[in-house]
Amino acid sequence: MSDLKAVTDATFEEDVIKASKPVLVDFWAEWCGPCRALTPELEKLAAAHKDKIEVVKVNVDENPAIAAKYGITSIPAVFAFKDGEKVHTSIGAKPQPALEQEFANVLS
């Protein structure tokens, strides 16, 4: 299990689109090995930048509407949202330093 907040089709609008801070959304599924590998790295990232950003998870199995809306065809996929807009996408499991670089514009 993960410390990261689980967001659903029903709560996505409230938790992500209307959030005051930038939000990183991790699209994942139980059967996806790299997704499990990515989770601890995202948890580290979330802990290191908890003043700047929020990191949440969307289970694509249980929340097909959001996954379909954003055209997810590959997981793990991490989308960065700022003021309700998608500003960056990262595909695949990556270590924390690589995530720091990729999302530098929302972390700074």
């Binding site: 996806c32 590998a37 055209g71 065809t73 590959s74 997981i75 996929a77 270590p95």
Partner: protein, 331 residues
Amino acid sequence: MTEQILPDQVHDVVIIGSGPAGYTAAVYTARANLSPVVLAGSVTAGGELMNTTEVENFPGFPEGIQGPDLMMNMEAQARRFGADIRHEDATEVKLEGTVKEITLGSGGVLHARSVILATGSAYRELGVPGEKELSGHGVSWCATCDGFFFREQVIAVVGGGDSAMEEALFLTKFASKVYVIHRRDQLRASQIMADRAKANEKIEFIWNSEVTEVRGEGQVSQLGMRSTVDDTESSLEVTGLFIAIGHDPRVGLFKDQLELTEDGTLQVDGRTSKTSLPGVFAAGDVLDPHYRQAITAAGSGCVAALDVEHYLADTADSDAAETRAAQPASV
């Protein structure tokens, strides 16, 4: 090296990589009381088998075993004998000299008398226009991760080996049709996998063809294709493309310090695991351009562990001899 390294801060062996080669080397060196440190990788722990499903050809599992389960078993077996398995990356290595230095992604540094390089291989890219841009938008290298998103769709797999057949067969659970595109007119895959793919009514083979371009606006919609026989161009409407055309050894971390073969794999001495530097050993796919099986990687990890044991015993003997020679007998 300017700073003093105390002998008790030097590990006997550090293993970089955690596929069947790395974990087997860990089991053997741990049982030999060498207290191995395994740098399993921050997001790659368990290696390539973590992204597979049923493994039917690893001896000892008559009913087969799931790839991730096999790797978790190997990890548990190595831990049982005291291997120190860390989900960390090696970002830099200095392999010359009697004490090797390994810099970690987290910033720390490890010192070791010997190193086993079991970094495996990375999937190969097609290198055609559109592939990078549409990666994650229909272009994928992981059927078990992404097959789910292609329910009732028409998709394609490129490749003719066992991995390509496995991906294609797995994808038939979701897709309405799976094309297998291969450059030759026969498969490289093992007979059993080839037979299964050919018998599956959702799979259609496109022989003697290569993908020249991946097309689509924000999502894959079409492939540009060319015949390898007469260069005729054609196109194929698909919404997904799974690439399984082989792997390249992951040697980036140390390729400037060690000799490589023409295939780009690590050069080793005969059937041993000895690389071009003393105290540096290799195991698994990183030295193997041909076989690349879980069981050959595991065997190769065992070879490296035994070579490390001999190397450490030999260097300990010569150190002791030097110490004796340097100190006049006091008895």
